[in-house]
């Protein structure tokens, strides 16, 4: 179904009424009396899916409830939000903490600081909705506190980033939650041991075969984190964004809705935190409810993971098989781990790891729980002898320094992001890479060969192994990577 058809369908089923300001569009100017839209007007310039999920889902969701939630989430993801919906944020910056602008702008859109898109799917669309985006969809990431209205792509004001795909995102979040829980247990056990033995206890932070360095627990409950590596000091594995600084799809959705569309979620921008129901002062209050965000999360969390295809071309088959072997030999898999084991497919939304500003489990009576096993794609996931699902992400959910003195192409940012240094990035999951050119955090690289050669720092040894290999081997590795696609 096309986006347009879906929108038409939603308009017919919506029961909401929306005011329309006749001059809504490109400029924030004084508005005449509002048009009141009716749900039975297919031409309504509002998004019917907003508010369609009337109550935040809770408890174990059955298949029917889940599919309805997913359907609404897809509509929200593909909706072109309008001024009557609340699109635009004339008085708010893109910051993740509600922040007023110092200088209001007249335009509804602004290519650099945002809002920079009318729909999520405006960027996440390659090869299909939920996918990645070409260079033209790059976004400009800045904190949005000072210099929020920057008008240059000079990297001293923002980090330019490509659009990631979202397929398999639910599995990534589940993996990160389990890893975070493992690390918390390791820390707790170290603290208990230190208290019992009355001496410092140093432990490795190891989860799912990924080492995040070491911590030292003191008998008095203090923890020395100097040797922690690739994860934040709170030991929460944050699986989303190029830097690995977003905890959950829920948090990312709330952030992105404000940043890219000026659609503000009540759970962060509402009166509970800002004392204003209309923080961005666009005359629309409480633009996205917690239930709306739940629907968005459900759609993203249930997106099928990318797959490895068996090409029709026999030569490609052979080359890919060779390349798969080389992937290990070159030690690409030291970071791009072929799979990580996952214990449970039960996805709780909200999750436990978010903090105030994004609803978490402590903020609701009962979170919604949906079993990803209900979805057809889940049946195809391999399992290990423990019954754990082997999530074929080709990643480790860990951050690494990606530059060194002689290979520094990925060190083209100037600003750290959320305490993460400028040349440190989370291992990019390679699943779907065959469908998501261009490559690199800024979409700078047109070929896989280029991005492999750009690996410095922690990726330098694998890169050098690739560089030292003969052209046929290099070709074979790429043949393998090209089989990792979004279907």
């Amino acid at each position: 179904m096309s986006v347009e058809n879906k929108l038409s369908k939603r308009f017919k089923t919506s029961s909401r009424f929306f005011p329309l300001h006749a001059l809504a569009g490109l400029l924030y100017v004084s508005w005449p009396a509002a048009v009141v839209w009716s749900a039975d007007e297919p031409w309504a310039e509002t998004t019917a899916a907003i508010g369609q999920t009337e109550v935040m889902p809770a408890g174990m969701l059955g298949e029917k409830e889940l599919l309805e939630l997913i359907e609404t989430g897809e509509q929200l993801f593909s909706a072109k939000f309008t001024r009557p919906d609340g699109a635009g944020r004339p008085a708010a910056t893109q910051a993740i903490i509600p922040t007023k602008v110092r200088h209001r702008t007249e335009q509804a859109f602004a290519r650099l600081p945002g809002p920079d898109a009318q729909a999520c799917s405006s960027c996440h669309n390659d090869p299909v909705i939920g996918g990645a985006g070409d260079f033209v969809t790059n976004v400009f990431v800045a904190e949005g506190f000072g210099n929020a209205n920057f008008d240059t792509s000079d990297p001293q004001f923002s980090n330019e980033r490509g659009t990631n795909h979202l397929f398999g995102a639910g599995l990534l979040e589940l993996l990160a939650r389990e890893m975070s829980a493992d690390l918390a247990i390791t820390r707790r056990e170290a603290l208990d041991n230190a208290a019992q033995r009355q001496e410092p206890v140093k432990v490795e932070l190891l989860t799912k075969g990924v080492s995040f360095g070491y911590l030292t627990a003191m008998p008095d409950g203090l923890v020395d984190l100097k040797l922690v590596d690739g994860v934040d000091d709170d030991l929460i594995v944050r699986p989303f964004s190029q830097k690995g600084v977003m905890t959950s799809l829920r948090q990312f959705s709330v952030n992105a809705m404000n940043h890219h569309h000026g659609m503000q979620a009540t759970e962060r921008f509402g009166a509970r935190w800002t004392a204003e129901p209309d923080f961005d002062e666009d005359t629309v209050s409480d633009e996205l409810t917690a239930a709306d965000i739940s629907a968005l999360v459900a759609w993203q969390a249930t997106l099928a993971p990318p797959v490895q295809i068996q090409p029709d071309d026999v030569n490609w088959q052979q080359a890919a098989a060779t390349g798969k072997s080389l992937f290990g030999q070159f030690e690409c898999s030291s970071c791009h781990k072929t799979s990580l084991p996952l214990k449970s497919l039960s996805f709780a939304d909200p999750g436990a790891l978010d903090v105030a500003g994004t609803i978490n489990t402590t903020q609701v009576e009962s979170p919604a729980i949906y079993d990803l096993a209900l979805l057809g794609w889940a049946k195809d996931l391999p399992r290990n002898d423990k019954g754990e699902i082997l999530v074929p992400l080709f990643g480790d959910l860990k951050r690494h320094k990606m530059t060194d003195r002689s290979v520094a192409a990925l060190g083209n940012e100037l600003l750290s992001q959320r305490f993460v240094g400028r040349d440190i990035f989370m291992t990019s999951e390679l699943w779907g890479i065959g469908s998501t050119a261009p490559y690199g955090h800024r979409n700078d690289f047109t070929t896989l060969d280029e991005i492999i050669l750009a690996h410095g720092g922690a990726g330098r040894a694998a890169r050098d192994a690739y560089l030292d290999a003969d052209p046929e081997a290099r070709s074979a590795l790429i043949a393998f990577l090209k089989t990792l696609v979004i279907e």
């Binding site: 903490i97 506190f145 000072g146 203090l222 923890v223 984190l225 935190w273 903090v355 105030a356 500003g357």
Partner: protein, 562 residues
């Protein structure tokens, strides 16, 4: 000098001695704030003193109408706040915190073997301090009679150290305490505020005892020598003292709030302290504007983040909020009152039918809902049975509205009890990141409120994010008394001063708490005692962190869970 009520719409109610009392009319704009006007979370403060093992009252005749303090500090190295409570004619009691993270409050009473039965009684208040720079927190105990300096030892044991320190505890009626580390000193300078001199002719009217300034004589050794304490005179019946860097000079002055009930010709005071020189009181020619109130408690906070602190002064009737006047400068401490414009006069009970002026005691700024806006707690309660003042006088919880004003939410929070509060502490007692409240009540059991978070239809939910920050200054002044902590989230900067003093006979030592709202991380800078600024520490929300001078990394602390 006239009476300093700032009610804009009021009618004279009665004249009683020199206490001119006003009561607000029904059209008082301060009372018109609609019930739904406060959009932020209101904490549900659940009283659970008895269940928690706290059975303690502050009792006694006239000399114990004031005082009734509580000291909150860790005495057994588990970083959980333990409580020492003044008992008046009853023995002071010590309660060790056995609460678990996020759980019900639980305390175990312990005996104080280092104290004689005599020393345990006639106690009015207490302040924790580490005067000897060792691993154990010490305690200054204010008494009707000899004040005590108790040296902290392992596992919540103490020994009386007056003799070792050459400290003369005096015979006065001591009601206030503050301490600071003066320039280059390895030991603290201590100020004791004294109340009425009962032995003077004509007592109690116009017979205020001298306050005491005890400076260490030695610059080395393991213990300070306080053998030559100074009398701070004139004195005007102090009920709270606080060393404060009012002008950002790096050199704290001593703010004294005094009770006009007994002084003659007195006023509020600010003493300039310069190392090696006698203290000098700021005079009117130096910009100090005489202010006469029933000063009971001092709370300091930099509400407008200009680096210059404001002071909430509890009194009878209006609470005052002293802020520097535009006429002030670094040498002229000219203050004006801003309580009315900030809607925090809290001049009469906010609930019930008693419209008489209320009586404020302990004051403390804290962020009880972690929304980044400071709130003000005021313990309230009639002196004893003063007919001109409210008999039902519930404690206040004035919550910051983010616009520079305050909204009373004491009743909604659940702290509007019919008690006569005195000393108090707003402190996280169960390591859940939400600040709890203990109030010592006169002639009634203490109140112990657990902050449950925001109440919902299905239970409670946590409020905003938070940080708890412990400073380590090094070998001297180990708790970094005098440090300023600057916490930045987005475009918001908050600050906390690490101090010993103020409140009403009640001191605290432990984590500095700050609410972060929806921020998931913060950057912290510390201006250490002596003035050096730290680099930026980058920390994640909802954690306890320890920052040590000279150390590049924050250490995280985790409370025991079993």
């Amino acid at each position: 000098m006239g009476v300093h009520f700032s009610l804009r719409v009021c009618v004279p109610l009665l004249l009683a001695g020199n206490n001119l009392v006003f009561a607000a009319t029904a059209s008082d704009p301060l009372q018109e704030t609609p019930a739904t006007a406060f959009p932020y979370d209101i904490p549900h403060m659940q009283e659970e003193a008895v269940a928690a093992g706290i059975e303690h009252s502050y009792r006694g005749p006239w000399e114990y109408f004031v005082g009734g303090g509580v000291a909150s500090f860790d005495c057994n190295a588990d970083r959980m706040p333990d409580l020492f409570m003044a008992g008046g004619v009853e023995p002071a009691q010590f309660f060790v915190n056995e609460s678990k993270k996020g759980g019900p409050l639980k305390f175990r009473k312990i005996e104080l073997p280092g104290l004689s039965g005599r020393d345990k009684t006639r106690v009015l208040g207490a302040y924790p301090i580490n005067f000897d720079n060792d691993a154990h927190t010490d305690l200054v105990v204010l008494r009707l009679g000899e004040n005590l300096i108790l040296k902290g030892e392992p596992d919540c044991s103490f020994s009386k150290a007056n003799n070792e320190l050459n400290f003369d505890g005096g015979i006065d009626w001591s009601t206030a305490f503050a301490a600071t580390w003066e320039e280059n000193s390895i030991f603290p300078t201590m100020a004791f505020g004294n109340y009425v001199d009962r032995t003077a002719p004509g007592s109690p009217w116009g017979t205020c005892a001298a306050n005491i300034l005890a400076r260490p004589l030695n610059a080395e050794g393991s213990l300070p020598d306080y053998s030559e304490a100074l009398n701070l005179e004139p004195a005007h019946c102090a009920l709270s003292v606080l060393f404060t860097d009012w002008n950002k000079s790096g050199q704290p002055s001593l703010r004294v709030t005094n009770d006009r009930q007994y002084y003659r010709g007195g006023q509020e005071q600010l003493w300039r302290l310069e190392a090696g020189r006698p203290p000098r009181q700021f005079s009117s020619s130096q910009g100090w504007k005489p202010l006469r109130i029933w000063g009971m408690g001092i709370a300091e906070a930099d509400l407008d983040q200009d680096g210059l602190p404001e002071y909430a002064l509890s009194s009878m009737g209006d609470t005052m909020l002293q802020t520097l006047d535009p006429d002030a400068d670094a040498e002229r401490p000219t203050y004006r009152d801003a309580a009315y414009e900030k809607q925090m006069t809290a001049h009469r009970p906010y609930t019930g039918t008693d419209l008489k002026p209320s009586t404020g005691w302990h004051t403390q700024f804290a962020d009880l809902n972690n929304d980044t806006h400071l709130d003000l707690f005021i313990a309230k309660g009639n002196v004893e049975a003063m007919p001109d003042f409210a008999a039902f006088d519930p404690d206040n919880l004035l919550m910051g509205d983010g616009q520079g004003k305050f909204v009373e939410n004491g009743a909604k929070a659940g702290i509007a009890l019919d008690t006569r509060g005195r000393g108090a502490a707003v402190v996280d007692l169960n390591a859940d990141g939400m600040q709890d409240l203990v109030v010592v009540n006169r002639e009634a059991n203490a109140s112990l409120f657990r902050n449950m978070g925001a109440q919902t239809e299905w239970g409670h939910r946590p409020m905003g994010n938070w940080l708890a920050i412990e400073l380590r200054n090094g070998k001297t002044n180990v708790n970094a008394i005098g440090a300023r902590i600057s916490i930045k989230t987005g475009n918001v900067t908050q600050s906390r001063m690490v101090q010993i003093g103020g409140g009403h006979a009640s001191g605290q030592l432990g984590f500095a708490h700050v609410g972060l709202g929806v921020a998931e991380r913060a950057t912290i800078r510390v201006q250490w005692p002596g003035g050096d600024w730290s680099h930026e520490y980058r920390v994640f929300a909802n954690n306890f962190v320890q920052l040590t001078k000279g150390q590049p990394e924050a250490l995280y602390w985790y409370p025991r869970e079993r």
